[in-house]
């Protein structure tokens, strides 16, 4: 104010030309829960669940496998896979709907446990779409210069948010964590994100009530996840197929150039309908991690990638279309080159 010398123009941030995924890691909780166990609470059968969702068994966390523990373990494996040291991580993003502390963010604990040098850390609430939101932000941080290496983690413990007597959801949800290290690259390794939300459909997938309603209730109970299955199926299968094609288009590749299709592992029937609607050629490997893992929301895509790499369906340098969608209805899709 009042000075005669004009202030200097602010120095802009400078990043790098390109970003890519440098490494991936996953943590699968130890408890294997077969369909025969979840049908005890609902009027259903093993055959119905398989036919309806493709799920044969799911992973549920034990008491020791906390959200923090699973996040840190998946992140350590991603760091090892990338060859990046924890002290080189500038930002940690945890996508989750399972962290029951309103504040602080789980990411701050994870950044500390990993031994980062006080990396920036925050959580993302974008439900099942959270991991792809994190990858999009990480890519832009690296390219924009806010961070050189970013750790993106998707972690959930949905088993404790599942109503065991709800026939529509009891067999679907599961627990686990997956992580990716994003950093600088000589060539483009993460395509433009296609993302959005539709708050008009806020009620389609949500917690049954908010915590204030729980606390004032005569019989307080966990606000379980509720879902209108057929409406979600319709939206996910057909709207998201279009979003997937847009992400390919934005990245400048066609379905014939694609090696792997890795949709959020919501339901095999959604995956089938999307693949049909997108007219994916038979040469594209399709993620089916849900069969043994269940639906782990924000963790499902890195968990699925982990299995595809382990089983040889996905190789280094492959192009993969990631597409995540869920409550909100929030969604995000991008093409990535696999590490």
């Amino acid at each position: 104010m009042g000075g005669t010398t004009p202030r200097p123009a602010l120095r802009p941030n400078t990043g790098v030309a390109h970003a890519r995924v440098l490494g991936l890691g996953a943590y699968r909780p130890s408890r294997v829960v077969p369909n025969s166990e979840v049908v005890t609470g609902i009027d259903s059968t093993d055959e119905w669940i398989r036919q309806r969702s493709g799920i044969e068994e799911r992973r549920w966390a034990t008491d020791d496998e906390t959200l923090r523990m699973m996040s840190v373990e998946a992140a350590r494996r991603a760091l090892a896979d990338s060859g990046v040291d924890a002290r080189q991580i500038d930002c940690v993003v945890v996508a989750t709907v399972s962290h029951f502390m309103q504040t602080p963010a789980l990411a701050t604990l994870v950044a500390h446990d990993l031994g980062t040098d006080q990396a920036a850390a925050f959580d993302v609430s974008a439900a099942c779409a959270g991991f792809c939101h994190g990858v999009a932000m990480a890519s832009d941080m690296v390219r924009g210069g806010s961070a050189r290496h970013v750790l993106v983690i998707g972690a959930e413990r949905l088993s404790e948010q599942t109503d065991p007597s709800d026939r529509g959801t009891a067999f679907i949800f599961a627990d686990g964590a997956g992580a990716a290290v994003v950093g600088p690259s000589d060539e483009p390794g993460i395509g433009p994100v296609v993302w959005g939300s539709d708050g008009e459909q806020y009620d389609l997938i949500r917690s049954r009530e908010d915590w204030r309603d729980v606390l004032t209730s005569d019989s307080p109970r966990m606000p379980h996840l509720v879902m209108q299955g057929n409406a979600v199926f319709r939206w996910a299968s057909f709207q998201m197929a279009k979003t997937g094609l847009q992400a390919l288009d934005r990245a400048g590749i066609g379905v014939d150039d694609l090696d792997c299709f890795v949709p959020h592992q919501a339901n095999n029937r959604i995956t089938d309908a999307m693949a049909r609607a997108m007219k994916l050629p038979g040469t594209v490997a399709i993620a089916r991690d849900i069969v043994h893992q269940g639906n782990t929301s924000a963790a499902s895509i890195p968990l699925a990638l982990d299995r595809m790499r382990e089983e040889g369906q996905a190789r280094s340098g492959d192009t993969a279309l990631l597409i995540a969608f869920g409550a909100g209805l929030a969604y995000a899709a991008q093409v990535v080159v696999l590490p």
Partner: protein, 81 residues
């Protein structure tokens, strides 16, 4: 304007593509669930494909009323009128 038989034939092809049901089995008196083994998720796929094919809108609230192939054909005929 498409005839009832033309709509049934096109719908039969959709049901065949989605659920693998023989097109000859997709007759007006057949129930999707009980006769053709088309479950509610497959029914959603059939409905979305039918919306595109026939240029009509079939809201979720209507889908549960479409018990037989004849119900669906009649709905499409009305919607196209």
């Amino acid at each position: 304007m498409a005839t009832t038989e033309e709509i049934r034939t096109d719908l039969a092809e959709i049901v065949n593509e989605v659920a693998g049901v023989d097109t000859d089995d997709v007759q007006l008196d057949k129930s999707f669930v009980d006769d053709l083994d088309v479950d509610s998720l497959s029914m959603v796929e059939v409905v979305v494909a039918a919306e595109e094919k026939f240029g009509v809108s079939i809201p979720d609230d209507e889908v549960k009323n479409l018990k037989t192939v004849g119900d669906a054909v009649a709905y499409i005929e009305r919607a196209q009128a």
